[in-house]
């Protein structure tokens, strides 16, 4: 009987498959049946709208060229912005999928492995109940960090410069560069670039704790000389007025160690910053000189690790619109990016097991050997 065609076809082929389909696919589908699925239009929150308008302010020419001109009338303008924003989300998602960002970045924070301390609240089902998660973007591999709480964590300038050439902002990054989202310079994103940035800013914009920052611990170590990328960026055509790397005066943040500084903890964090990390005026001056296209400025005494970009065309713009209107997290320009591993000196740092460090040391020795 077990060797007969009928049983192989019907029992194994159809019945067992159906059984698995029901239990593994239909059951979850039924369980979430009552969670409404949001459309892209419904995903446009104030947080996201703020970021979208911020794109328009920071990249006015590009925005107008690719998105069009918003109507003058206030109500019409509101509607227009919402529509454009939703449309950008869709296009941005398509780009995100087409470039396989999801093969290097996950979009879910697991309840294990300290992930909620690194990235923020553990992911929940309702967060995925929307049009942009069809098919869901859980991801397959984390070469880069999880992005499900990326929105609001970096400025649009940072995102633009980073997508244009990740090594500008993250020393030795293995992320590919995407100059084809730009028209030759990081301050000239094309439609795909603008849409992708909207999409990135959307990730996590639905959370109360948005924008979610990792706690930031200042580096107490003098870092090595100004990164060569500064010079390299100068070669990029037209990168002159806008461009890339950063404000060297901003101290590098600790990319991973420590506690979530959600809004409640923000005050705390701020104090710490103030005590040991505020850039001095002199450093800020030095930073302004370090615009690519001119000679890189001598490294300021702080930490020259380019951690946060300030590529906005004018200084005033960069400063005027950094805080999302509805979430006055004071440290929203706080750099979050790359730190040399050695910079993890903060007192809040959870006791790291000795094993990984040893492993890492072995690994880096090995690497030097290679």
């Amino acid at each position: 009987m077990l060797e007969s065609k009928g049983s192989v076809l019907v029992i194994a082929g159809l019945f067992f498959f159906a059984l698995a389909f029901v239990s593994n696919a239909l059951v979850p589908a039924m369980m979430y049946k009552d969670l409404p699925e949001k459309t892209a239009e419904q995903l446009v929150t104030a947080n996201l709208r703020y970021q979208f308008e911020d794109l328009a302010r920071r990249f006015p020419a590009s925005f107008e060229k690719h998105m069009g001109k918003p109507p003058e009338d206030a109500a019409a303008r509101e509607k227009w912005l919402n529509e454009k924003c939703a449309e950008s989300l869709r296009i941005g998602r398509k780009v995100y999928v087409g470039e396989a960002c999801w093969h290097c970045h996950s979009q879910f924070v697991r309840p294990v492995s300290n992930e909620s301390r690194r990235w923020g609240p553990v992911s929940e089902s309702w967060e995925y109940q929307n049009e942009l998660q069809r098919p869901v973007m859980f991801g397959t591999r984390r070469v880069g960090p999880d992005l499900s709480r990326e929105g609001g964590r970096r400025s649009n300038d940072w995102q633009a410069a980073h997508l244009f050439k990740p090594t500008l902002l993250s020393d030795g990054s293995v992320m590919p560069e995407y100059p084809w989202f730009f028209e030759g310079a990081p301050d000239k994103p094309n439609l795909r670039g603008l849409a992708l940035m909207t999409y990135l800013q959307w990730l996590g914009s639905w959370l109360e704790s948005y924008p979610y920052y990792e706690e930031y611990t200042a580096s107490s170590l003098p870092a090595d000389a100004a990164p060569s990328e500064v010079a390299a960026a100068g070669d990029a055509p037209a990168a002159g007025e806008a461009a890339a790397p950063a404000n060297p005066a901003e101290p590098a943040a600790d990319g991973g160690a420590a506690e979530p500084a959600n809004p409640d903890a923000a005050a705390d964090t701020e104090k710490k910053e103030a005590s040991n990390a505020q850039p001095t005026d002199a450093e800020l001056e030095a930073a302004k000189v370090a615009i690519p296209g001119t000679k890189p400025a001598p490294p300021p005494t702080g930490d020259p690790q380019p951690a946060e970009s300030q590529p906005s065309p004018t200084e005033s713009k960069a400063t005027e619109n950094t805080n999302p209107p509805i979430d006055p997290a004071p440290e929203s320009e706080t750099p979050q990016a790359s730190t040399p591993p050695a910079a993890v000196e903060g007192d809040e740092r959870p006791p790291a097991p000795a094993l990984p460090e040893a492993l890492f040391r072995t690994a880096s020795l090995l690497m030097q050997a290679i």
Binding site: A12, A25, S113, Q133, V136, R142, V174, W180, G255, M367
Partner: protein, 475 residues
């Protein structure tokens, strides 16, 4: 089986098989493997910061990573398995497939689907579904192609009187499963469900693609070729039954183990974990069965090349499943999910098991398809050793790398630390990749030379395969 041995008239099995078609499937398979490896290299080089084509849109490493996996699944494995089925099914059932025109149409259509997939991905049209990156507009065409495959292969199998031989159970079930899996995986998460539920379907899809398409056809081929080559029946028919029915029942239940700790309901995750461990036991019985078959002819492992490919693949299969039994537990998942451990696992199973089996079958069939003995046995040896050793080194390297990555992440060290810590493993990966690639080059040279020899006007009598399926059926 007895039905086949009792077949009254003698059928010339060589006439049943369209050798040219099988050969073409194999050549397509090897071509896509070549392309796929180039894609793998591009991503691997990107990860060690040596991407030679940085900043060129059509060489976007992400896109090539998707081409890498899709070319492996739909180009290399699917073509290799289909070609082998076009050899095995007619010989086993003593009947031709439904239509040879249809067979050729399937061949051409399938290559068109794979090429369109690659092209679509290359131009940024990918669908956001792992292993299903085929752009959405190609999906219905691909499904139609799969339906034609079913229509072509089922008639000879269904016309065989009496109970079927093991291979045909696997083939028959796989034909149905593949069609259903493809339909489910490509349409449901795209059009019908969203969010976590789509994740569950996606997990089921990637899992079923390996477990209900590649695995059963692969094992079916093993049940066909191993007895032929060893000239004796499979050790235990009972274990064959356990293996098939165990796989059929437990395998499809595990999809969600790809997404542990996601918002997918926890009881479903536990279910997937338990059935995963159950299937490892089933796998053990299959492996025991095959090693039981080998017992007494152990020297074939050394002297007989295809047997060596097959059994090495089975050893890797055992290792993969052992690894899987670990990685499916929530304890291990916490560390290894999203790391290179999984990538190591994927290479071990895709190339180490099914890749080796297909190449073993090719090693056996190529002389029969090209009408001449292998040009060089030595090159065959090189092909084997380069492929298997490099693959094994790559898998070990990536699995170890995954453990390091997972531990660094958990320790909340800055992200860059995990990159730096991975670097040595990524460098080793490139070199092992070069080894695998070199194995393929050797293989191509050997095939080309053999083909040239086969073209000569009056060579020594071309080897005709003398084994009749009766040998197999004698179980």
């Amino acid at each position: 089986m007895s039905a086949q041995t009792l077949q009254p008239q003698v059928v010339d099995t060589d006439k049943l098989v369209d050798r040219k078609l099988v050969l073409y499937f194999y050549l397509a398979s090897l071509t896509f493997l070549f392309v796929s490896m180039l894609g793998g290299f591009l991503m691997a080089l990107q990860l060690i910061r040596h991407n030679p084509f940085s900043g060129i849109e059509l060489f976007s490493p992400g896109r090539w990573r998707m081409i890498h996996t899709n070319a492996v699944a739909y180009g290399f494995l699917a073509n290799g398995l289909l070609g082998s089925m076009f050899w095995a099914v007619p010989r086993l059932t003593l009947r031709p497939v439904l239509s040879s025109h249809l067979s050729w149409f399937i061949f051409i259509a399938w290559q068109a689907v794979v090429l369109a997939t690659a092209g679509g991905i290359l131009f940024g049209q990918a669908q956001g579904l792992e292993w299903g990156e085929t752009p959405t507009w190609i999906d219905p065409v691909a499904l139609l192609g799969l339906a034609l495959v079913v229509v072509n292969f089922l008639p000879p199998i269904l016309m065989t009187p009496g109970p079927l031989y093991v291979t045909l159970w696997y083939f028959m079930a796989a034909l149905v499963w593949t069609f259903l899996t493809y339909a489910m995986g490509n349409f449901m998460p795209e059009y019908f469900v969203t969010g976590s539920a789509a994740g569950a379907v996606g997990g089921l899809f990637i899992h079923d693609l390996v477990g209900l398409f590649v695995t059963p056809i692969g094992w079916g081929l093993m049940y066909y070729f191993v007895p032929i080559l060893l000239k004796k029946p499979i050790w235990s028919h009972g274990l064959s039954l356990v293996g098939f029915w165990g796989l059929a029942f437990f395998y499809p239940l595990q999809g969600i183990h790809h997404f542990l700790y996601t918002p997918i309901p926890m009881f479903l995750q536990y279910g997937a974990v338990i059935s995963t461990i159950a299937v490892e036991l089933v796998v053990a019985t299959v492996i025991i069965n095959f090693f039981g078959t080998l017992r007494g002819s152990g020297s074939a492992f050394i002297t007989n090349l295809p047997i060596r490919w097959f059994y090495t693949g089975m050893v890797f299969y055992f290792l993969t499943c052992l690894q899987c039994a670990f990685q499916t537990t929530l304890t291990f998942q916490a560390i290894i999910h999203f790391t290179d451990w999984v990538v190591g696992h994927a290479h071990l199973v895709m190339f180490g098991v099914f890749g080796l089996w297909i190449q073993g079958v090719m090693t056996y069939l190529m002389p029969r398809l090209l009408g001449h003995e292998w040009y060089s046995r030595k090159l065959c040896e090189w092909h084997f050793w380069l492929s298997s050793i490099s693959l094994f080194a790559m898998a070990v390297d990536l699995i170890a790398g995954g453990l390091v990555q997972g531990t660094v992440w958990r320790a909340l060290l800055p992200w860059e630390v995990s990159i730096d810590a991975s670097m040595p493993f990524w460098v080793v990966r490139v070199f092992t990749g070069i080894g695998m690639f070199a194995g393929q080059i050797v293989f191509y040279v050997n095939i080309y030379r053999t083909w040239q020899l086969g073209l000569r006007p009056a060579p020594a009598a071309a080897p005709t395969s003398t084994e009749l399926p009766a040998v197999v059926a004698a179980t």
